[in-house]
Symmetry: D2
Subunit: 333 residues, 4 copies
Amino acid sequence: MRFFSDNAAAAHPAVIEAIAASNRLDTAYDGDEWSRRLDGAFSDLFERQVRALWVTTGTAANCLALAALCPPHGAIICHKDAHIENDEAGAPGFYASGAKLMLVEGPGAKVTPEAVEAAVGRVRKDVHQVQPKALSITNASEYGLAYSAAEVGALGDLARARGLGFHMDGARFANAIVSTGESPADVTWRAGVDALSFGFVKNGGLNAEALILFRTELADEIAIRRKRAGHLLSKGRMLAAQMLAMLDNELWLDNARAANAAARSIATAAGERLVYPVEANEIFVRVTAEEAAALRAQGFDFYDWGPGQIRLVTSWDQAGEPIERLAAAIASL
Amino acid sequence: MRFFSDNAAAAHPAVIEAIAASNRLDTAYDGDEWSRRLDGAFSDLFERQVRALWVTTGTAANCLALAALCPPHGAIICHKDAHIENDEAGAPGFYASGAKLMLVEGPGAKVTPEAVEAAVGRVRKDVHQVQPKALSITNASEYGLAYSAAEVGALGDLARARGLGFHMDGARFANAIVSTGESPADVTWRAGVDALSFGFVKNGGLNAEALILFRTELADEIAIRRKRAGHLLSKGRMLAAQMLAMLDNELWLDNARAANAAARSIATAAGERLVYPVEANEIFVRVTAEEAAALRAQGFDFYDWGPGQIRLVTSWDQAGEPIERLAAAIASL
Amino acid sequence: MRFFSDNAAAAHPAVIEAIAASNRLDTAYDGDEWSRRLDGAFSDLFERQVRALWVTTGTAANCLALAALCPPHGAIICHKDAHIENDEAGAPGFYASGAKLMLVEGPGAKVTPEAVEAAVGRVRKDVHQVQPKALSITNASEYGLAYSAAEVGALGDLARARGLGFHMDGARFANAIVSTGESPADVTWRAGVDALSFGFVKNGGLNAEALILFRTELADEIAIRRKRAGHLLSKGRMLAAQMLAMLDNELWLDNARAANAAARSIATAAGERLVYPVEANEIFVRVTAEEAAALRAQGFDFYDWGPGQIRLVTSWDQAGEPIERLAAAIASL
Amino acid sequence: MRFFSDNAAAAHPAVIEAIAASNRLDTAYDGDEWSRRLDGAFSDLFERQVRALWVTTGTAANCLALAALCPPHGAIICHKDAHIENDEAGAPGFYASGAKLMLVEGPGAKVTPEAVEAAVGRVRKDVHQVQPKALSITNASEYGLAYSAAEVGALGDLARARGLGFHMDGARFANAIVSTGESPADVTWRAGVDALSFGFVKNGGLNAEALILFRTELADEIAIRRKRAGHLLSKGRMLAAQMLAMLDNELWLDNARAANAAARSIATAAGERLVYPVEANEIFVRVTAEEAAALRAQGFDFYDWGPGQIRLVTSWDQAGEPIERLAAAIASL
């Protein structure tokens, strides 16, 4: 029973079926029927005109967006626990030709306006110091917290005032959306977000992520950068078809609701042991080394997360007995 | 009836089945059962120890290899018609941090030792001129010609003598192998090749290409670069499973044989109109604008390729009547 | 008697005096009295508002300009014999984050509108091919030819029509100006040039080159890039003082007139042996290996320049007897 | 009376004289008589064979070294207050093709083995996290503290054990050397340093810094990178001559002694107000805003350095009355 990460889960059967259904001769790259439907499908979802590009990884989506929002000599403000800082092998520096990350702190890996303001304020306005040019937040955060539309909006106002491009890493965007109940539009462009990495792989997709551009004028340049980075697949219809299957009948929301519900069950069992409120599908629990070993002995797999803490991540396909057993095991520690 | 490019064809049913069969929870990235079998499977095929990494595009395979073989301040010698020069949006310069391509000419997009020697000889050995550090050839070439093992070996000897890393872009490696009948080992590492982009997507794969490293010591660094470029997919098992399905029972050779046979049928019909000998699955035919229009009027789609020429590319799944009709149409021009 | 290159000559005494005179405590970097006078001095010379930044090499001036005019995924059209292609160790690719040079041919290393038009025309307008974004010419050219204002203007019109930034490498700008007699303004911004590398080092300067920006809005970003490239010297007053000394009393024009006059004397002696008309301070002469040896035996040093040709370059401080002797030696071959 | 920074001071007269004396025709770039003497001169100073390259800024020296010691996908460990982090406009990321800085803390901007060990220990050994590949320290530190040979040696041992290249930013190397009285050899290569940026500009030089390579095998590649970065000046003799003049008769040590002595005088006056011990030529003093204003009213110029602190920097040419007046003014606060 694996709770390492949602990115290792199986893809939803509808996704595999969509891939099979799109397996025919069509125009290469993104000229096929499915890829050409993406802008429309996501524009409907976001209640405004957007441009949507498929890629195969969140790292590619994040860094293509950041390279468009930040010049080589600029800095991207992000949380010190952000995925782009810790788990992308320096990809932002690669894609953005040497741009740097400017790290801020904040509880639960969430970025606050105060932290951004302080980071901007520390920089002298001269040619010797790298000037901040973009802001990137992760929603849900690396510690499973969701941003409200109001929180994003406060950051968006600040980004605009300080001339920062605003990117949201939504590897678990679905989990955040079902957590707050706010609309995709309210949490993103209405709150000032310029570009969103809209994750599917952790939510039942196989290998497709969407880069959603609310500043649509960035799309053509990013399409060039996507090719230049080797991310323009020949048979892109397979990626587009996945996403359309996920959007269809709100499968993406159903999947996220299932993962979040599983996480809540475990969270309830963990009670006072929780390190953070559980707002998405990640649960951080305080356990001793002996307790962790005891859980593992019962067949539960998960990562240690610093001394005295473990991380559990639930997936769209985890429900019923395994979750009940894990909840019971934690409750009985 | 589309003859634009083999990269737009459907994937072979066995590939889709393999993807579906690998769709289960497993270790993420390349820690899964299928990915861990790749080194062994390709080592068997190449009759020596190799390292094999999956990626989703030929551009990624090519440029990851080139960045490992050429420093930022070096040059990569390639044909002026090479894919890396003309169709990868400058990806070699991106991946190799500004390294440049040093172009040579040669009939049929093939590189000759004389051309390489001349290119090397033109460069002063000082800090003002970019020094050649790698050689890249395409096999089969962009004009559908296959290199013999002896031809590759002559280039390999030269590469070693001049201190050049040696890369082969094998987007149509299968077509070349069935064309010459020589072994994969003889055409690559025994002939001095350090790294091979082994294509599957144009040959019945869906989205998986292999980067084969004969200099196995390069693999760990390239694995880092792959992640840094956003090419380490979460559910890599889907990519590995594709390749294993293609290697199984020599499906990759069967597919290439089918495409090559189709091309030969058309070539026979084209006769004197052929611009190049047809050694793989690409046919370049001299036609007038009126003749091209006539072919299109009969339902055949293809690209113009310079004035008075068209390019036809056959795929693994093109045989029988459509090919016979195209052959007949060309013969009757 | 060295005729290798004007970049090895001594600096003019007035330049050394200016350095000594500026050797006092002042604001660091470019905040000093001399640096702050540059914009005004060059604006007077060019008859319009310009921004002027000092750097220490032509390579830095060229590549800072090109990186501002061409995105990482774009191409810079230049002559195949251009300094940026042949003698800057790939610096354009480094500064412009992997941008490539798109080479054209043309007599005497001059770029023609036809060549540019053809180069632009060869590029498909898609994401697979690198799109041209800038044009760079060298005036005087690498073969010592000067562009007329009309010639530059024709290129400028084309650059504007095709959306290309327009850069002039003026390592020997002074020699070109005194050659045609046209005004600096007419040959540059009035003809559509966006940025000029204005050389002093080959013309009696010690180590200061000016980057002149007619598109003044580029200056602030380039100033950042200059720092980032390690080209913002602490005691920049030494560089600014050199330039001001060169502009004072038109010393830069006097020096160029002297070098050009010396070149003309030699050219007259060479007569039919000239490979190109001598319009600046470079002379390319057809000689046999024996004749070259004979000249060297008489104490003249110079470079061979391909089979059967030599290159002679005159400097601001070469006049009188050495030039007469060289002219006589060539005449008597 | 300016105490902003030593990099704004005048150059020593002997340096200006050396420039004037080298102003003659000679081989261009670094082929001249003076440049060819550098390896020998610095090898004598460091008691072993070294390679020495001139550049014009500390940023160039630092980043050329770091790019040779750290691959694009690696990290350079340095202090959060290091010059390369705060005052070089992101040049390390530019030169090292996107490599990142990994920041550590420590009193007085000094790096400790414990801090390095902790930083290394925090990194998972996988492809997702950027692996540390180099260590860079500043001696004297940004807060004017000198490393003992033993301190450097402890870091050198750790660097070797962890596979880190080891760079020392010696913008104020002379001030550190005269402070500890230890030999240049003991403080650098005998303690494990691979490359040293040996500063002259802050110590009476005009525009020349030396990059000293104890790992001499790095020099040829760095020479290429220097050209590629536009840092190979045509008349390099002017730079080499400066350094030789500084090394002659130990002028570099005399200058540093003078600056350090001036700093000590001020430090004695500051007494309990000192933020750090004064071991070189920088003095950090606790003053109220009113006291700072009072000092400025008496004609002393300096930077505020965070709330309640000011920074004073002395130069080689500051002695006698101005120093006495400043000391008295501080003592009487």
